[in-house]
C-alpha cells in the first residue's frame, strides 16, 4: 500500500523555504516557528504565570524575546506567542498547562506565512509596502498593518531584521509584493 503519511510544504508551496537576495536585503520564508494567540480571560491575571514560564507579555506595539518563547502584542490583553516549531509543534499543549483556564489559547502556526527581511536600509523598503513608521518605532516594535490589501503583522526584531506575517493563503501575493518592492528600491 502506498505511503499515506503527511509531509508538510511551505507557504510558497515547496519542500524547502525560499530565500532570495536583492541588493542589500535578503527575503527568507520562515517555517520553523510555532505561533499561538494568548488572550487573558476576563478577571484573570496571567502576568505571574507568564513570568514563571519565561513568556514575555510586551505592552502595546511591542515585541519581546524570552528565553524560549517570544511574543508580540495583538490587542488589549492578547498576544501572539512565538516558539521553536521543532520543540513546540503542538504549541497549545505547551501553553495550556501554564495558563489553564485563565487564558484562551489558539494555535496560529499555519494561519500565517512569515517572511524575514534582513539587511540594510529596511525602512526604505517598507515605506513602499506599509504605513508603519519603521524608523520611528525601531527594534522591539510590532504592529498590524496593511500590505497590498493584506492584513499583516510587522515585527521589527532588529534594525536589520524585520518579519512580515501575512495570511498564508496569500503567501505568493505577499512574497511577490516584497520582491517587487525590493527591486523597486534597490
Amino acid at each position: 500500500m502506498a505511503d499515506l503519511s503527511l509531509k508538510p510544504i511551505t507557504p510558497l508551496g515547496n519542500d524547502l523555504p525560499v530565500r532570495i537576495s536583492i541588493g542589500p536585503v535578503t527575503i527568507s520564508e520562515v517555517v520553523d516557528t510555532a505561533l499561538a494567540s494568548l488572550a487573558q480571560r476576563m478577571g484573570q491575571d496571567i502576568t505571574a504565570a507568564a513570568k514563571g514560564a519565561g513568556i514575555p507579555l510586551p505592552p502595546a506595539g511591542r515585541w519581546e524575546q524570552g528565553a524560549t518563547c517570544a511574543a508580540f502584542w495583538l490587542s488589549p490583553e492578547m498576544w501572539m506567542i512565538e516558539a521553536p516549531f521543532a520543540s513546540h509543534e503542538d504549541i497549545v499543549a505547551h501553553l495550556k498547562p501554564v495558563f489553564g483556564e485563565a487564558a484562551s489559547i489558539t494555535e496560529q502556526t499555519d494561519a500565517w506565512a512569515r517572511f524575514d527581511v534582513t539587511g540594510a536600509s529596511l525602512p526604505r523598503l517598507f515605506e513602499l509596502l506599509c504605513n508603519y513608521d519603521i524608523a520611528r518605532h525601531g527594534a522591539g516594535s510590532a504592529s498590524r498593518t496593511m500590505m497590498e490589501h493584506l492584513g499583516c503583522y510587522v515585527v521589527i526584531r532588529a534594525a536589520d531584521h524585520i518579519s512580515v506575517l501575512g495570511p498564508r493563503s496569500s503567501a505568493q501575493s505577499l512574497f511577490h509584493a516584497l520582491e517587487t518592492a525590493a527591486h523597486s528600491v534597490f
Binding site: P11, A39, M42, E101, S169
Partner: protein
C-alpha cells in the same frame, strides 16, 4: 545654427549636449534644460495651439502653471498627452509632438475657428446645440470634442510600473525656494525629521532664476550649499521632482515623485513615479508665488510671456527668448526683468509701465503711464502697440515681451480644506486662509512676503514655531543678507480695447467672455467659472483665475474680496492615472488566496473560479469530457455512488473561547448553542439586528469553553467583524475571546457512502458510527498528525469534514485521493458542491441575499423564542411573519428537457408578466443528474401550500418561459437517512 538664442550663464551643463526631437525635427540642448528652455534656445517659440480657437501659442511661464506649451511626450505606448514643456526635464533622445493641430503646428486648418470666433463666445454651445435634443450625443458632442480636444492617448497599456508608499516626518516643507530651504535648515539642524518636496528637478526655487546675492554668494550658489548640507543630514529627506498634490486629513499630504520621467526608459524594476502619502506632524507651505499677466488685445502670441519667466529663461537657462524685448509692468518686479536682461546684453527696447511717477530706470527707455494695447505677428510676436501717457500710439518692433501684473501667493494647497483666501491690498493679491488645514502654515512668497530677506526669515521663523508646537527646540540659523525691496504695485488687470484680450489662455477665455457672463448675470464666481470655463483646464487657472475675478469685480463695481475667489482642490497639477493605480493592475489588481489543495488541483487540470480573492477548483475535467456539465455530472454521481472529496478550507473559521462563549453564541445565533454537548456540532443561523438572515454555518464545541464557528466563504470577514462588534460593544461584560483560524487549517469534505471507509484508512482513532455519530466532532490524528474531524454534511450524504494544519493540506488531499483509489473516489469542485446542496435543499448565498428571513428559508422554527438573540424581536415583525409570504420551494420543469433560468419569476398560468402578478423567483438553478433535469430552489408566495401546483417561470431578460412544478426543496433523501448512515 543650433541654439541660436543661447546666451552666457545659467545653470545648465554646457559640457554635455543632448539631442531631442520636437514635431519630427532634431534639436540640441543641455542637461539642466527643460523642453521649453531648449526649444526657446533653438529659436522655437511656437509650441502649441489653443483649446478652442486653435491660436498659435508659446510658453507663458517657466513653471508648472503653464497654460500654453502643452505637448505630447515620448512615443508609442509611453506617449503621454497634455504635459507641460516648461517642466519637462530634457534628456537625450526625448521626443515631443505638438497637439491639437492639423496637419501641422504652423498650418492648423482648425485655425478657422479663430475666424469664426464671434460664434464661439462663452456659453455658445449651450445656446447653439439645442435642437433637436437627440442630436446632442450622436452629432454635436462628438464634433465639439474632436474640435476641442487636447492630446491623444496611445491606446496601449502603459509599459511602466508605478509605486505607492508612505512617509512620516515632523515637518513637511512644500517647496524648496528661499523660505523652504531656510525652514528645512532650521528644522534639520534641530534634529527634527524633515521632508522637503519640490516639483522642480533643481531645488532653490526663484533663487535659481534671480541675480540677487545672498550674502557673498549668488542665490543659486547659496541654495546649492544649503541643499548639500541638508543632503548630509540623516534626518532630512530631500525630494526633488516631487509635487505635493494635496492636503488630506490629519496632516496627511499626497505627493507624486517623478522617479524616472527624466530618463528615456525607467531602469529595470524601477517605477516611473511613486505616489506618496506623507504623514506630517506639521507642514509648511513655501511654494512661492505665481506671476499673473495683464490682459490686452492679442496678448497670447508666442513670444509674449510673464516677465518673471522671461527673466528665468535668461538667468537660469541662458536663453534670450527674443533678440529685442520689451517689458509691460504695473509693479517694480517687472522692472527687474528689464535690468536683468539689459545686463545680459539683450536689447531692451522699452519698459511700458502703467504707473506714473517714481524714478526712471537708468539707461533703459522707461515709459511711465503707458500701456500695451496690442500685438502683431503671424506665428509669433513681431511688434507691440503702445499707447503713451499722452495718448500717442506707437508700434514697437520686438520679438519678446515680458508682462507682469503682479504676483499671486501660491496658496493652492492651503485652501484644500475649504479655507477662504484673504485679500491683501498691499500686494494686491490673496494670501493663504487663516482656517486652512490644521498644522499647515505658510512662509515666504506663499504667505505674501515677497522679498528674499522676508522669505528667509519667515521660513526659518515658521520652522521654529512649528517645532516649538511639537516640543522641539530649534534656533534660527545665521541667514545671509538678502534684498528686501518692498512690493510696489498699482493694480492693473486689463487694457481697454475692442479686440480679444486673453484671461485664461489654456481655455481661451477672454475679457469679453467675462463681460458676457456679467451681461447674462452669471456674476457669482462659481457661475462665472462654469459659464466661461475659466480655470477649468489642466492648469486649473493658475495664471488666469485672479485676473478673471478682477475683471468681474470691475464690471460689478465691487472689490475683489467682495466678488470672492474660487478655492482649489487636489491635485495641484495633473496626475497620471497609472500613479493613482500603482501596482494594482492586471493580475496584480488584488492579492490572490490559494487553497491548500491548489497545487494538487492545478496538476489535475482543475478549472478555477474566483470566489472573492480565493481561487477555488470549479470542476476537474477528465480526458474525453468536452463540456463542464459532463465533468460536474460525473463528480456528483460518483460522490453519491461512492465518495467525493472537496476542499472547503475557504469557509470562515472563528475560534471562540471563554467562560461565556456559550452564552455569547446564544446571543449571536437565532438558535440555542449553550446546551450543546462537548464533542458535538450544531447548524446555526445568524440574524442581523433587523431580523434578516446574515449568515449560516456550523459551530462545534471542542471543549467546555472552546468552540469553532464556521461561516460561509463570502461572509468570513463580515461575520468576524460582527462578532467583534458584539463582543466589544454589545456584550463587554462577557468573557469571550475571538480569533480567526480560517487560514490555519486545511479542511476537506469527504462525502458519500464510502466516506467512512476511506477515512478509516487514514484516521488513527475509531470513527465508527457508534464512536463518531452524526454531528460529532473532535480532535483526532491522521497518521500521527494533529487533526480535527467534524461529521457534518452539506451534500446529504454520509459526510465528514477533516482538518489538518495547513502545511499538511497538500499532503492530505494526496493521501485522501490515494486512500480513495479503491473506492473510485473523485475530487469535486464548487459546481458539484452547488448541485448537491440544491439537490438536498440547503440554502446558500443566492438564498441569503440580505432580504430574506429564517421563515422565508423554511427555518422559522430555528429562531428560538426562549432566549434573547440578535434579530429575534425584529424577525417577528408583522410583515415578515404574515401568512402567504415567500417560502422556499423546490422547482422542476414539467418537461424535463427544458432548462430553467435563475432569476425567472413565478407567474400563475395566464397571468400577465407584470410586477403586480409576481409570485416570487428562482434563486438557484442546477442540472441534477440525480433527478435527470434542471432543478431549482426558489422563493414563492405561500410556497408551502403550493406544492404540486404548476406555474410559469418567466424570465423577461433571457426571454424564456417554462412550465414548472412546485415540489419539496429536498430532491435527494428527504428523510435524511443517508447522512446518518
Amino acid at each position: 545654427m543650433t541654439q541660436k538664442n543661447r546666451i552666457t550663464g545659467g545653470q545648465i551643463d554646457r559640457s554635455r549636449t543632448l539631442s531631442f526631437r520636437f514635431d519630427g525635427k532634431s534639436y540640441q540642448g543641455h542637461p539642466g534644460d527643460t523642453l521649453a528652455s531648449a526649444l526657446l534656445a533653438n529659436g522655437v517659440r511656437l509650441m502649441g495651439r489653443s483649446f478652442k480657437y486653435h491660436r498659435p501659442r508659446g510658453p507663458l511661464s517657466a513653471g508648472s502653471e503653464e497654460p500654453n506649451a502643452i505637448v505630447q511626450l515620448r512615443e508609442g505606448a509611453r506617449q503621454e498627452p497634455n504635459t507641460r514643456a516648461t517642466v519637462a526635464e530634457l534628456f537625450d533622445g526625448l521626443t515631443a509632438t505638438s497637439q491639437n493641430r492639423f496637419p501641422s503646428l504652423s498650418f492648423d486648418m482648425m485655425g478657422v475657428n479663430d475666424l469664426l470666433s464671434p460664434f464661439f463666445a462663452a456659453g455658445f454651445y449651450y445656446k447653439t446645440f439645442m435642437w433637436p435634443a437627440k442630436f446632442w450625443e450622436s452629432i454635436y458632442e462628438p464634433i465639439i470634442r474632436r474640435a476641442a480636444g487636447l492630446g491623444a492617448l496611445s491606446r496601449q497599456d502603459d509599459p511602466d510600473a508605478y509605486d505607492k508608499g508612505f512617509l512620516h516626518c515632523d515637518l513637511l516643507v512644500i517647496g524648496a525656494g528661499p523660505a523652504g530651504l531656510a525652514a528645512a535648515l532650521t528644522a534639520g539642524r534641530a534634529g527634527a525629521r524633515v521632508i522637503v518636496t519640490d516639483e522642480d528637478f533643481r531645488m532653490g526655487g526663484r533663487l535659481n532664476a534671480e541675480t540677487h546675492a545672498l550674502g557673498e554668494a549668488s542665490g543659486a550658489d547659496w541654495a546649492a550649499g544649503v541643499v548639500a548640507e541638508l543632503a548630509s543630514l540623516p534626518n532630512v529627506r530631500l525630494m526633488p521632482r516631487t509635487t505635493t498634490l494635496g492636503a488630506m486629513d490629519h496632516g496627511i499630504y499626497s505627493a507624486v515623485e517623478r522617479v524616472s520621467d527624466h530618463l528615456p526608459v525607467p531602469a529595470a524594476g524601477k517605477p516611473r513615479q511613486i505616489l506618496w502619502r506623507i504623514y506630517s506632524r506639521r507642514a509648511l507651505l513655501t511654494a512661492g508665488a505665481i506671476e499673473r499677466p495683464i490682459a490686452f488685445e492679442n496678448n497670447d502670441r508666442p513670444g509674449i510671456m510673464l516677465a518673471g519667466a522671461l527673466r528665468a529663461y535668461a538667468n537660469r537657462w541662458g536663453v534670450a527668448v527674443g533678440e529685442r524685448v520689451a517689458v509691460f509692468t504695473n509693479n517694480d518686479d517687472g522692472l527687474r526683468t528689464a535690468t536683468d536682461l539689459a545686463a545680459k546684453g539683450i536689447d531692451v527696447a522699452a519698459v511700458i509701465d502703467t504707473r506714473t511717477g517714481g524714478p526712471l530706470l537708468p539707461g533703459i527707455r522707461h515709459l511711465q503711464g503707458a500701456e500695451v494695447t496690442g500685438s502683431a505677428g503671424r506665428l509669433g510676436l513681431s511688434a507691440i502697440s503702445i499707447r503713451h501717457a499722452n495718448g500717442k500710439v506707437e508700434s514697437l518692433p520686438v520679438t519678446a515681451l515680458g508682462v507682469s501684473g503682479g504676483w499671486n501667493p501660491n496658496l493652492n494647497i492651503a485652501s484644500h480644506h475649504r479655507g477662504r483666501p484673504v485679500w491683501q491690498d498691499a500686494i494686491a493679491a490673496f494670501v493663504p486662509p487663516k482656517d486652512g488645514p490644521a498644522g499647515l502654515s505658510a512662509a515666504g512668497a506663499a504667505a505674501g512676503l515677497f522679498s528674499t530677506h522676508a522669505a528667509l526669515q519667515s521660513g526659518a521663523g515658521a520652522a521654529v514655531a512649528a517645532l516649538d508646537d511639537l516640543g522641539v527646540k530649534a534656533t534660527l540659523p545665521d541667514l545671509p543678507r538678502a534684498e528686501d525691496a518692498p512690493v510696489a504695485i498699482a493694480p492693473k488687470w486689463y487694457v481697454q480695447g475692442k479686440g480679444r484680450a486673453w484671461v485664461d489662455q489654456q481655455n481661451d477665455v477672454t475679457v469679453k467672455d467675462v463681460k458676457l457672463a456679467h451681461q447674462e448675470n452669471f456674476v457669482s464666481v462659481e457661475h462665472l467659472k462654469r459659464y466661461t470655463t475659466l480655470g477649468m483646464a489642466t492648469d486649473q487657472g493658475k495664471t488666469g483665475n485672479i485676473l478673471g475675478l478682477a475683471v468681474m469685480a470691475e464690471l460689478t463695481g465691487r472689490t475683489i474680496p467682495e466678488t470672492g475667489t474660487t478655492i482649489y482642490r487636489p491635485p495641484y497639477t495633473p496626475v497620471a492615472m497609472g500613479a493613482l493605480g500603482g501596482r494594482s493592475r492586471g493580475h496584480e489588481f488584488k492579492p490572490t488566496r490559494l487553497t491548500p489543495s491548489h497545487k494538487w488541483a492545478n496538476e489535475q487540470g482543475a478549472v478555477f473560479v474566483e470566489v472573492g480573492m480565493w481561487l477555488r477548483a470549479q470542476w476537474f475535467p477528465k480526458a474525453g469530457e468536452t463540456t463542464w456539465r459532463q465533468s460536474v455530472d460525473r463528480e456528483v454521481l460518483a460522490t453519491r455512488a461512492s465518495v467525493g472529496i472537496c476542499d472547503v478550507t475557504t469557509l470562515g473559521k472563528i475560534d471562540i473561547q471563554g467562560t461565556d462563549a456559550g452564552a455569547f453564541l446564544d446571543k449571536v445565533y437565532a438558535n440555542t448553542f449553550s446546551t450543546l454537548g462537548v464533542g458535538k456540532v450544531r447548524y446555526g443561523l445568524m440574524l442581523r439586528e433587523d431580523g434578516i438572515v446574515m449568515d449560516d454555518g456550523t459551530t462545534a464545541r471542542m471543549g467546555q469553553n472552546e468552540w469553532v464557528m464556521t461561516t460561509t466563504t463570502a461572509n468570513a470577514v463580515p461575520v468576524f467583524r460582527h462578532l467583534e462588534y458584539v463582543r466589544q460593544c454589545l456584550c463587554p461584560d462577557m468573557d469571550v475571546q475571538l480569533i480567526s483560524t480560517t487560514e490555519a487549517w486545511a479542511q476537506y469534505s469527504v462525502a458519500g457512502p464510502n466516506a467512512r471507509k476511506l477515512l478509516e484508512k487514514l484516521v488513527d482513532q475509531d470513527i465508527s458510527d457508534a464512536a463518531f455519530p452524526y454531528m460529532a466532532c473532535g480532535a483526532i490524528t491522521v497518521k500521527g498528525v494533529r487533526a480535527r474531524l467534524f461529521r457534518i454534511s452539506f451534500s446529504g450524504e454520509l459526510a465528514y469534514e477533516i482538518a489538518v494544519p495547513t502545511r499538511y493540506g497538500d499532503a492530505m488531499i494526496r493521501a485522501l485521493m490515494e486512500a480513495g483509489r479503491e473506492f473510485d473516489a473523485v475530487a469535486y469542485g464548487t459546481e458539484s458542491l452547488g448541485v448537491m446542496r440544491v439537490e438536498k435543499g440547503h440554502v446558500a448565498g443566492n438564498e441569503l441575499n440580505g432580504q430574506t428571513t429564517a421563515l422565508n428559508m423554511g427555518l422559522g422554527k430555528m429562531v428560538s423564542k426562549k432566549k434573547d438573540a440578535i434579530g429575534m424581536v425584529l424577525s417577528q415583525r408583522e410583515g415578515l411573519v404574515a401568512e402567504g409570504g415567500l417560502r422556499i420551494v423546490g422547482v422542476k420543469p414539467v418537461d424535463p428537457a427544458q432548462p430553467l433560468t435563475a432569476g425567472s419569476h413565478f407567474l400563475e398560468p395566464g397571468a400577465a408578466a407584470v410586477a403586480a402578478n409576481d409570485l416570487g423567483w428562482l434563486t438557484s438553478v442546477v442540472y441534477s443528474p440525480h433527478v435527470g433535469s434542471s432543478i431549482a430552489l426558489g422563493y414563492l408566495k405561500n410556497g408551502e401550500a403550493r406544492k404540486g401546483q404548476r406555474l410559469r417561470a418567466v424570465n423577461l431578460l433571457a426571454k424564456t418561459e417554462v412550465e414548472v412544478e412546485i415540489v419539496s426543496a429536498h430532491f435527494v433523501d428527504p428523510e435524511g437517512v443517508r447522512l446518518r448512515g
